[in-house]
Symmetry: C2
Subunit: 124 residues, 2 copies
């Protein structure tokens, strides 16, 4: 199956999350945030990318807006997401949908790391 | 912000996973599988949908193929995914990418529920 072989060149079809490098998020307005691109364009994704975010205690992402959506699954910790003019508590076993073009921000409000998956579309 | 109001009608921006109904997967070739559509077209998704699958002990999805990809994040339990002619062990903290048009199947090979997220593109 040549397609599978080609896939293997681009990425292991299955990866350990712990082996994906953590990158510091250096965007202005971010603090204490790292991101792992678990499934990205370079590693085979065609339509959307899966990232894992870790916000240290007190950490937060920028309050910003952009023309693509977020689909978020909380893995652990406790945070708050601001979407437009509302705040929502996020903790394990919650999902969040952030529409395009709405100001939003994620903050860690707990004592542990606040960790979530965030999937975004890949613009072609 | 009317857009946020409209979003609230379609879905709570933040949902508890436990409140999303579990549907039995009745597709031929599936056994012991339920799915929760955490973020779906009806509830606001624009480009991709987030589903949570639970395979009971001994459960499996059909060995099948289709022209869209899967991006998978394993939450708990132990399984195996067949992709083309290869098998890969799946357990907590692993991700899998299944390309379009490749035969694939997920099986629970552990003693607990095998639970994973599976994100798919929404065809327009």
């Amino acid at each position: 199956m040549p397609f599978v072989k080609d896939l293997e060149v681009r990425m292991m079809a299955v990866r350990k999350v712990s082996e994906v490098p953590k990158q510091n998020v250096t965007e202005e307005g971010a603090s204490g945030v790292t991101v792992q691109w678990l499934i990205a364009e370079e590693t085979g994704a065609e339509n959307f990318a899966m990232r894992k975010f870790t916000l240290k205690r007190g950490g937060y992402t920028p309050l910003h807006t952009h023309d693509w959506e977020h689909e978020v699954y909380v893995l652990s910790g406790k945070g708050v997401v601001t979407i437009g003019d509302k705040d929502f508590i996020l903790e394990e076993e919650k999902v969040a949908y952030v529409s395009p073009n709405v100001f939003h921000q994620f903050k860690n409000i707990g004592n542990e790391d606040f960790i979530f998956l965030c999937i975004i579309p890949l613009k072609k």
